[in-house]
């Protein structure tokens, strides 16, 4: 095996990656420097910095609930969502438990190990969905001639869409888990496939279908 010399494409990739890293760094820096000027952002940042005295009590509730959950979880149908304190209303986790705090909900019902296992399994499963897309496409959508007609390379476009969805969904997973653990501010990002209004379920299911479909050409003989 002989290593080939560097090609201009590789340099572009490196430059792009560096630009991406720089963009992420700059946005993060700006978020913390100027975020305080936006009240919603400020509240979320304040909530991470001081969850038990900030204006938003949701991180306090989430952390209390996770702390109370036993290692094996409370069990299906037994999670005390509203806590044990006497109250006319529910003083426990808010209604967004269905979407923003799904990780916390899994901790409550099944315990932290299951919650972590489910999150990592989902990340791996998402990756496996598109792992071999690079082998079934040339990787760039382009115009191609076929049967005397000019068209786009549908396989590549679909593959790109699927990969983009998986990457974003994986990031969404990481962000919501980190938010539930108070490592990042709570952002309102839902757990993949799970949301109070079911929009996430519908959209993600559509993309999942796309992901599954994109493999099909690879299974055709001579494909």
């Amino acid at each position: 095996v002989v290593a080939s010399p560097q090609r201009p494409g590789d340099q572009r990739v490196r430059a792009g990656a560096a630009a991406l890293r720089g963009w992420i760094g700059a946005v993060t820096f700006a978020l913390f420097r100027v975020g305080a000027h936006d009240s919603v952002t400020a509240s979320r940042l304040e909530s991470v910095a001081a969850p038990f005295v900030s204006i938003n009590d949701q991180l306090a509730l989430v952390s209390w609930f996770q702390r109370a959950a036993p290692a094996e979880g409370f069990g299906i149908g037994a999670a005390p969502w509203c806590g044990f304190a006497p109250s006319r209303g529910c003083s426990g986790v808010p209604a967004q438990i269905h979407s923003d705090y799904t990780f916390t909900a899994i901790v409550g019902v099944f315990g932290p190990w299951v919650a972590w296992g489910a999150s990592l399994a989902m990340a791996i499963w998402l990756h496996r969905l598109i792992r071999h897309h690079g082998r079934v496409t040339r990787g760039e959508p382009r115009l191609v001639g076929a049967g005397g007609q000019l068209g786009n390379d549908g396989q590549a476009l679909l593959s790109w869409l699927a990969v983009a969805w998986v990457v974003l969904t994986s990031c969404q997973l990481a962000v919501t888990v980190a938010g539930n653990l108070a490592v990042l501010p709570l952002t309102g990002v839902t757990f993949p496939f799970v949301s109070f209004g079911m929009t996430s379920l519908l959209v993600n299911t559509a993309f999942l279908a796309l992901c599954l479909n994109v493999d099909l050409p690879a299974r055709r003989p001579g494909g």
Binding site: V53, P86, H133, L173
Partner: protein
């Protein structure tokens, strides 16, 4: 040779998707290893079990400046222009939105056409002002004046808070900035639910002078973080409070649980109930599940409400145990998590297991449970009797409670409010064990209003000479939170000093009294027993100041002082501090004896118990009390005092109006007045000690409210139950011999037959039955009241502002002293002529005023004693001497009772 394939963006994206897994693992590492190292980190703060928004509290506190005494009586209407003009920093945020952003918002957000924020703020300010007006004009409100919102003051306060960064010890190093949205949120919170939050604040008019000293002059209310603090709802379930488990029984009868509380579901479970039994050593399984009681009784509870079985202020009394009862409590953590090797390991060395029970399938941590010594049936009887005598005629009817004097009229029909007394407090102690079985307290409606708010109902007599101001402590259970001069109830203590005198005098006195006891019949007038029966204070003072020595070189007052100490009084008085005369209600004994408990013990519930022959340090009123140091008393002055103002011995005024230096203070103490103070429990404890000694006990258990503190059943021994047994004060040596105690109790047993309690007894039973009752031994007491004999109209004239000085006023008629009556007794539960005394009861009652004459009822030492009546109503029903129809039963009398001729009741 393989050509290297170019890396495409797609490849990068796929790699990125894979990178999510290590990112997640990195989060785990960050949480697990990095964040806990930061002392201010979230995970350190995560141990906090309460949440309170610093910004929300600061925004709410702007109203401390804005809510002021109102100058106009109509609700003020605030306009949005006023708001925008006054709140310049928020003008942009609260003004009318315009431009593309507003258009977009109206397009996207439903309801975006609502009024601009300034208009909403203005409307809410107007609504809050109207709510404050309603809050301050309602009957018996909490406020001193009518109050309202001053918008200009609020704008100024808000402008200040918007520019001042906040800090809090709960988040060190963090600074918080209040925003305009926080002000809107605070305003909305205040007016939510018809301004229900106003009820939770402290108001001028319902706070004591010490609190108000820290307020600004114009400040009308105070808002603290406590009102908006949110507790961890998953912090576990507070332990149970059980009542009604008598010694040897296998299950408590009742537990306290709010209507929607988790205790409703856990406190009847076998794990907790069984341990409640195991804590006392019994191993049997519970026969029946205990019943929930929904809390403490209220002044208007229905007659059949089961809450009568709960002592008022029970939660306050048990407050020091909250650290064990709440799973978030520091002491709970120590014991439950086994941080203390010494106490959290059982005999076998096994660590104490965490307290968990399963609720709805979920394991839940439960705090340590408390068994209290209260007997629910006796408590209900005592509380209902106190309520009946303070004006609850429906309760009187339900108990068929009658007084001979009132005939067919309701009890107290001749008195203001139709109440026999304005206040009644009752304590009952089991003599053998020291268990406090009842602590009852009740106020008449008008007496309650005098301390429950700045207003007095129009139906209450405005001539009553009592100041009207809010005193939260006066609303607590009077059996332990109210003290008074003990008056003649100290005579058993004085008699103890006379009889245990090691000299010839004491021995001879004891021998002669015992010889007289052998003969049936009323004690002789000049005997110690006769003087006890008649409560002859002058002859007691003669003995106290050594009349047999011509009052010379008399040390007996200090023997009385020592006797009081031996009865459990005068605790903490040796050095002079605020705990003088106080005791620990929970585990008994004086305060400050927790050296034996160690540092892992809960605090004490300090209550007034009893003090005698004490004085303020430096003789400065208000200074901490300490024991009067032994001093040589001038025999000449004593002789003059003994003769009284008329200068003749053995006349009615002996020892009255004593004058002459330090002697006066000691003589006043001999009357049970001066600086002497006792609570109902302290007086009952004194009688329990005396009766226990008469039963033959050489050591006497201290009165205590807590029977046991224990955890959930588990394989490990309940180390906390053992620890709590150690916390209980050790039994104290009896302060006198059995022979001496029998003499004193014998004298007291004639009090209702031919002595000072006879009138009261005949109100409850009848003359014949009273003469035959020999299973009761009691003592009355009447602290002097300077307005005895004066009518309310006279008091109004004498004490009006600008009224000319009068002799009555100089004697204290215009002071805020209240007229009390005491009664303390021991009784035999089986109503037998002989045998051990089983229970001790003490009652303190504040006398009421007669409707027609306007004079106070039962003036002086003569006349009816409602405290004794209350005690006899309770004892009669508890022993079955009075049946359910309120009729004294024939079997109530002593089996071999000896008829005793009635004698003049003097004192």
């Amino acid at each position: 040779v393989a050509e290297r394939r170019a890396v495409s963006l797609l490849d990068c994206a796929i790699a990125a998707s894979l990178a999510i897994v290590p990112v997640l693992l990195g989060v785990v590492a960050l949480v697990a290893f990095v964040r806990p190292g930061d002392p201010d980190s979230f995970w350190r703060q995560g141990h906090s079990d309460r949440y309170v928004s610093v910004r929300h509290v600061a925004a709410l506190q702007t109203f401390e400046r804005a809510i002021v005494r109102r100058t106009v009586q109509e609700p003020r209407l605030v306009s949005s222009d006023e708001v925008l003009d006054g709140m310049a920093p928020c003008r942009r945020e609260w003004g009318v939105a315009s431009g593309a952003k507003a258009w977009l918002r109206r397009l996207v957000v439903a309801g975006a056409d609502d009024a601009p924020p300034a208009a909403q703020v203005a409307a809410q300010l107007s609504e809050l002002d109207a709510a404050l007006l309603r809050f301050s004009v309602r009957p018996n409100g909490r406020v001193e004046h009518r109050v309202g919102v001053d918008p200009e003051r609020w704008f100024a306060a808000a402008a200040d808070v918007l520019t001042t960064p906040l800090e809090t010890p709960d988040a060190p190093g963090q600074r918080f900035q209040v925003r305009c949205a926080d002000l809107v949120g605070a305003l909305a919170a205040l007016r939510r639910g018809d301004a229900a939050m106003l009820e939770t604040f402290a108001w001028r008019g319902s706070e004591g002078a010490a609190t108000l000293a820290g307020w600004r002059p114009e400040q009308q209310m105070r808002i603290t973080a406590r009102e908006v603090t949110r507790k961890n709802p998953w912090g576990g379930i507070a332990g149970c409070i059980y009542l009604g488990r008598a010694d040897g029984s296998d299950s408590p009868g009742y537990f306290l649980a709010g209507a929607r509380s988790a205790q409703q579901r856990v406190c009847a479970t076998p794990e907790l109930v069984r341990v409640a039994t195991a804590a006392s050593g019994a191993a049997a399984l519970p026969r029946a599940a205990p019943t929930a009681l929904r809390g403490e009784p209220g002044p208007a509870d229905a007659v059949d409400d089961p809450r009568w079985m709960v002592p008022p202020s029970l939660f306050t009394l048990l407050q020091p145990l909250e650290s064990l009862r709440q799973p978030s409590g520091a002491l709970y953590r120590v014991y439950a998590e086994g941080e203390s090797d010494a106490l959290a390991r059982g005999a076998g060395g096994a660590p104490l297991s965490r307290n968990r029970v399963v609720v709805d399938g979920a394991p839940v941590e439960v705090g340590y449970s408390i068994d209290v010594t209260i007997d629910p049936a006796l408590q209900a009887l005592a509380q209902k009797t106190a309520a009946c005598y303070t004006g609850r005629h429906d309760v009187c009817r339900a108990l068929a409670m009658r007084r001979a004097e009132d005939r067919d009229q309701p009890l107290g029909a001749q008195l203001l409010e139709g109440a026999m007394v304005r206040m009644a407090a009752v304590a009952v102690i089991d003599i053998a064990s020291g268990r406090i079985e009842a602590l009852a307290g009740s106020l008449s409606p008008c007496a309650r209003q005098e301390v429950d708010g700045p207003g007095r109902d129009a139906a209450c007599d405005t001539r009553l000479p009592y100041p009207v101001h809010y005193r939260a402590d006066a609303l607590l259970n009077a059996a332990v939170f109210h003290d008074a001069m003990p008056a003649s109830t100290i005579k058993p203590i004085m008699a103890t000093a006379f009889l245990v005198d090691l000299g010839v005098r004491g021995t001879r006195l004891l021998a002669s009294e015992r010889a007289a006891m052998e003969k049936d019949g009323t004690p002789a007038r000049d005997s110690l027993r006769g003087q006890l029966m008649r409560s002859d204070s002058a002859r007691f003072l003669d003995r106290m100041f050594c009349i047999e020595q011509g009052f010379a070189a008399c040390a007996r007052p200090w023997e009385v002082q020592a006797a009081a100490r031996a009865f459990g009084w005068n605790g903490g008085c040796a050095d002079g501090d605020a705990s003088c005369g106080k005791a620990d209600l929970l585990f008994g004994g004086p305060l400050g004896h927790d050296d034996e408990r160690g540092s892992l013990a809960p605090g004490a519930t300090a209550i007034a118990y009893g003090r005698l022959l004490s004085e303020p340090l430096g003789k400065k009123l208000g200074a901490p009390m300490h024991l009067m140091p032994p001093a040589s008393l001038d025999a000449g002055i004593l002789r003059r005092c003994a003769a009284g103002p008329d200068g003749r011995r053995l006349s009615d005024d002996d020892w009255e109006k004593c004058k002459g230096g330090a002697v006066v203070d000691v003589v006043a103490e001999g009357w049970g007045q001066g600086h002497a103070r006792a609570s109902v429990l302290g007086v009952a404890g004194m009688m329990a000690t005396l009766a226990a000694t008469a039963n033959g006990a050489t050591t006497v258990p201290r009165p205590h409210l807590v029977d046991a503190v224990h955890g959930v059943a588990g394989p490990a021994p309940d180390a906390l139950a053992a620890a709590s047994a150690r916390w209980r004060a050790a039994p104290a040596p009896s302060p006198l011999t059995r022979d001496a105690a029998e003499v004193i109790v014998s004298g007291l047993s004639y009090s209702h037959r031919a002595g000072t309690a006879r009138t009261a007894c005949e109100q409850v039973f009848d003359a014949k039955r009273c003469r035959d009752i020999d299973w009761l031994a009691g003592k009355t007491g009447t602290p002097s009241f300077p307005s005895d004999g004066l009518s309310l109209d006279q008091l109004v004239r004498l004490c009006a502002p600008g009224a000319p000085p009068s002799a009555e006023a100089k004697r204290g008629a215009c002071s805020s002293l209240h007229p009390y009556k005491w009664y303390v007794a021991a009784w035999r539960g089986d109503r037998a002529k002989d045998g051990p005394w089983t229970k001790a009861i003490a009652v303190l009652a504040e006398r009421n005023w007669l409707r027609t004459s306007g004079r106070v009822h039962g003036a002086g030492d003569h006349g009816p004693n409602p405290a004794a009546e209350i005690a006899m109503q309770i004892v009669g029903r508890a022993t079955g001497a009075i049946d359910d129809a309120g009729t004294p039963s024939r079997s109530a009398v002593a089996k071999a009772g000896t008829a005793v001729p009635a004698t003049e009741a003097t004192r």
